[in-house]
Symmetry: C2
Subunit: 442 residues, 2 copies
C-alpha cells in the first residue's frame, strides 16, 4: 500500500510516473471494487489523460509539489467539472457540474488526478450505503464518506476527499484502518459541496497517515486558508518533542466498548512511558448535552436546505434522512435558538480550555465497525463537528476480530500546527506502515 | 401587457393576487408558446405553490417589496434550486441545481416567482435558437437571451433574467420591443451562472420599461451591490430635469442601416427640442478596434472554460460556438495579452471621458431583427460588454415592417443613478406603454 509521501518521493526521483500510479490504482480497482463497491464511477480515460498531461509538465521541469500525479478519490458530494454530483440521489444522477468545488480546483492546480467519485450515504446522512468494509464485507465501512475510506484502505486510490457533519470522516476512516482529518470549521471553503448542515459541514482529507493528510489538506486550502503561512506538511514531518495530552473520560468511557477502552488504556500507558505528558481533561458541564444538541442543529439545518425538494420529491429520500428532515421541520425555532446558543457557548468554552499545545485524546469510535445495517455511532465525533475543533484520527495497529481500532486527537481552534506535530509523534509509536486488508477469499 | 410597477401597485391595493398574476402568465403561455418557443420548461405547479406561499405572507402583513408575487422567467444559464440548468447542452439537460445562483437567491428573497427556464442560445453564444421573434415568426428574437426577450414581449412573464457577454441582453430586448439593462461589470455576482467569457459576463434584467428594469436590478443586487445606497428604483421614477447626451457616431453611423439612422436622427431632434443637451461624443481612437478585440477576449476566455469538455464531447457543441472555441484555442497568449491591455486602456479612457451626468446615446442595434438564420449583429453592444459600462436599451415606438427599433443609453462606470434617471426622461418622450405584438394569424 503506497503513501502519497512515498509516491511523491518516487516521482521526484523519476522512479515512477503518474501513469504508473494511475495504472496501479486501476489494477487495485479491478481487483477490489467488485467486493467493496466504493465507487459511483471511475473515469479511467480521464485519469490516464491527466497523467499524460502531468507527465508533460514534469518533462518540461514544472513540478507542482507533492500532489503532482497523485490519484485520489472524490466523495460524490463535491463538484468536479464535467462529472455528475449525485449525492446518492436518483434525481441528481445526471447532474453534471459546470465548475470544480473550490477545494477541488485547488487540488487540481496542485497536480492531483481525480480517478472518479466515491460512494456517499444519501445526502451525506445515515442510510447504509452499498459500500462494504474491506476488512470484513459483512460490516459497514462507516458513513457518510464510505467509498472514500474503503477506496483508500484497498489502494484503489492513494487518498480521498471526505466530509463530516457528524462523524463522517473520522468514523469511516477508523473503521477502514486509515487516517482522517477534520480541520477547523471554516478553514476550507464549502463552495461546490452539497450542504448537510451549514454550521457543521467540514470538508477534509482521508489518507494512510498524518503526513499524507497534511499534504492533502495543504493542497485543499492553498489560496483559501486564512493563514497560509501554516505549513501543515512541514509540521506533520516534525514530531513535537514532548506532546501534552488531555485524556477525555465521561462520554467516552461510558460509550466505548470494553476492547476499545482497553486499547485506549494501553496506548495512554505507552505514550506516557515514551515521555508524553498525559493529564485528565475535565469537559465543561455543557458537553454532556452535545450529542442531543448536535442532532437538533443537523436536523434543522438539513431541513432548511432540503425542505422544498423533500416536499416535492419525497420518493428521493431514504428512511433515515427522511426521519432527520421530519425532526427538523417539526423543531420549534426557539429550540433551535437555544441550541445555537449552547453551540456557541460550548465552542467558546472548549476554545478557552484547550490552551497552548494541549491535544485531547480519545478513541475515534465507540467500537470497531458494526454490521452493515448501520453506519455506526458518531458519538465520539459529533462533538468536534458541533464545536468546529480540528481532529485527526489514526489507525493504531489494534484489531478486534480482524477489524481495526483508531484513536482521535483534538486540538484547539485553528491549531492544526499542534495537531499535526502531535499526530506525527503518535504515529511513530503506533503502526508504522499502512494497514492492508486481506483479500476476500472465494 | 402588464408592467411590474403597475402589478406591484395592484398587489399593494389588493386589486390582484400573486395567483392571478401567475394564471395570467400561464394563459399567455398557453396562447403564445406554441408559436414562439421561448421556454425550455415551465413549472406551473411550482409557480402556483409559490404564489400561495407569497399570498400567505401578504395575509400576515409581510410585504416583500415591488417584486412580491411577480412571475419572472430565468435564462437557462442561471442555477435555480431543484431545476436543471442545461445552457442549451444535451449533456447538461438533467443537470439539476443544488443551489440558487446568487442573484436568483436575492430575487427569491424579494418575492419573485420563477415560472420556468427561458431558452438560451447554446452556451450563450451565437447559434440560432428555437425561439422565434413574436413580431414576425420568420425573424430572430436575437440572442443569446432569446427566450427571455420573447417571453416578456408576449406577456408570458412580467420580466426575465438575461445575460450579456457581447450583445445578449440589448439585442434580443431591442428586437422584441422590450427594454434591457446591462449593469456595470462587477455590480452583480456571477456565482451560479454559466461562464462564457469571465471578464465580460454580465447578468442583467429584461422588462417592459426602465422602472421595471430598476426594480429587477435592485432585487438582483440587494445584499451584493458594493454601494446599496444607490436606489435604482427611486432614480428610475424621477426623470433627470435636463439630460446631457453624448451622441455616438463613427462605428454607429457606419454600421446602422438607413431606417435606424433616420430613427436616431429624429429622436435626437425630438430630445433636443424637449430641452436635452446633445453634444457629439468623440470616441477614443482605440475604440475603432473594439469589435475585433472583443471577439479575441470572448474566444480565449470561452476556450479557457470549455476546453476540456470541448475535447471530450465535441458533439455537444454547435457550429458557431465550436468555431469560437477553435479561435480561442489557436490564439497565441501574446495576442490575448495585447488585447487585455487594450481592454484595460480603453476601459480607463472611456471612464475618464464620460464625466459627470453625461449619457452616451446610439441605436441599440444596427437594424431591426433579421431573419432567423442568425441572432443578429452585436456590434453596437459588444463595446459596452468589453469596457463594462452600464447600458439601458429602450423601445422607441418606431417600427420597420412591423419590427420594433430601440435606442441605447450608456453611462460612466457605476453611474446607474444617472443612467436610470436619464432613461426615465427618455421614456416620457418615447412609447409610453409596453408594445404588444399582434397575435400570429392562422
Amino acid at each position: 500500500m503506497q503513501t502519497i509521501h512515498a509516491a511523491a518521493d518516487a516521482i521526484k526521483r523519476k522512479e515512477i510516473t503518474p501513469t504508473q500510479l494511475v495504472e496501479q490504482c486501476l489494477t487495485a480497482i479491478e481487483r477490489w471494487e467488485k467486493h467493496v463497491h466504493a465507487w459511483v464511477f471511475v473515469d479511467a480515460d480521464y485519469a490516464r489523460g491527466e497523467a499524460k498531461r502531468l507527465e508533460a509538465d514534469l518533462a518540461r521541469g514544472f513540478y507542482r509539489g507533492p500532489l503532482h500525479g497523485m490519484p485520489i478519490g472524490v466523495k460524490d458530494i463535491y463538484d468536479v467539472y464535467d462529472w455528475p454530483t449525485a449525492c446518492g440521489s436518483k434525481l441528481w444522477a445526471n447532474s453534471i457540474s459546470r465548475q470544480d468545488a473550490a477545494v477541488v480546483a485547488s487540488l487540481r492546480e496542485a497536480g492531483a488526478i481525480f480517478l472518479g467519485k466515491t460512494v456517499t450515504t444519501q445526502y451525506a446522512s445515515f442510510d447504509p450505503p452499498v459500500t462494504k468494509n474491506p476488512w470484513n464485507l459483512a460490516h459497514t465501512p462507516g458513513g457518510s464518506s464510505s467509498g472514500s475510506a474503503a477506496a483508500v484502505a484497498t489502494g484503489m486510490c492513494l487518498a480521498a476527499l471526505g466530509s463530516q457533519t457528524g462523524g463522517s470522516i473520522t468514523r469511516p476512516a477508523s473503521y477502514c484502518g486509515i487516517a482522517g482529518c477534520k480541520p477547523t470549521y471554516g478553514l476550507l471553503p464549502l463552495d461546490g459541496i452539497m450542504p448537510l448542515a451549514h454550521s457543521m459541514d467540514h470538508p477534509g482529507p482521508m489518507a494512510h497517515n498524518a503526513t499524507d493528510l497534511a499534504i492533502l489538506l495543504r493542497g485543499m486550502c492553498d489560496g483559501w486558508a486564512p493563514n497560509d503561512s501554516i505549513n501543515f506538511v512541514e509540521k506533520a514531518a516534525v514530531p513535537v518533542s514532548r506532546p501534552r495530552f488531555g485524556r477525555l473520560r465521561q462520554l467516552f468511557d461510558e460509550n466505548a466498548d470494553d476492547t476499545t477502552r482497553d486499547m485506549m488504556d494501553e496506548i495512554v500507558h505507552r505514550f506516557a512511558e515514551d515521555g508524553a505528558s498525559v493529564e485528565e481533561f475535565a469537559l465543561p458541564a455543557a458537553f454532556s448535552d452535545v450529542v442531543r444538541r448536535h442532532r437538533i442543529v443537523m436536523a434543522v439545518e438539513a431541513a432548511q436546505y432540503h425542505e422544498p425538494r423533500f416536499r416535492r420529491h419525497p420518493e428521493d429520500y431514504s428512511p433515515r434522512i427522511s426521519q432527520l428532515l421530519k425532526e427538523g421541520l417539526d423543531c420549534p425555532a426557539s429550540e433551535y435558538a437555544r441550541t445555537k446558543q449552547h453551540q456557541q457557548e460550548l465552542t467558546q468554552a472548549m476554545g478557552l480550555s484547550i490552551y497552548g499545545d494541549l491535544v485531547l485524546l480519545c478513541p475515534a469510535t465507540t467500537c470497531p465497525a458494526p454490521l452493515a445495517d448501520t453506519t455506526g455511532d458518531p458519538a465520539f465525533n459529533s462533538p468536534w463537528s458541533y464545536t468546529g475543533l480540528p481532529t485527526i484520527s489514526l489507525q493504531t495497529g489494534y484489531f478486534v476480530d480482524g477489524l481495526p481500532l483508531a484513536i482521535q486527537l483534538v486540538a484547539g481552534p485553528n491549531r492544526e500546527d499542534v495537531l499535526f506535530s502531535t499526530a506525527a509523534w503518535c504515529e511513530k509509536r503506533l503502526a508504522a506502515t499502512p494497514l492492508q486488508p486481506p483479500y476476500p477469499e472465494k
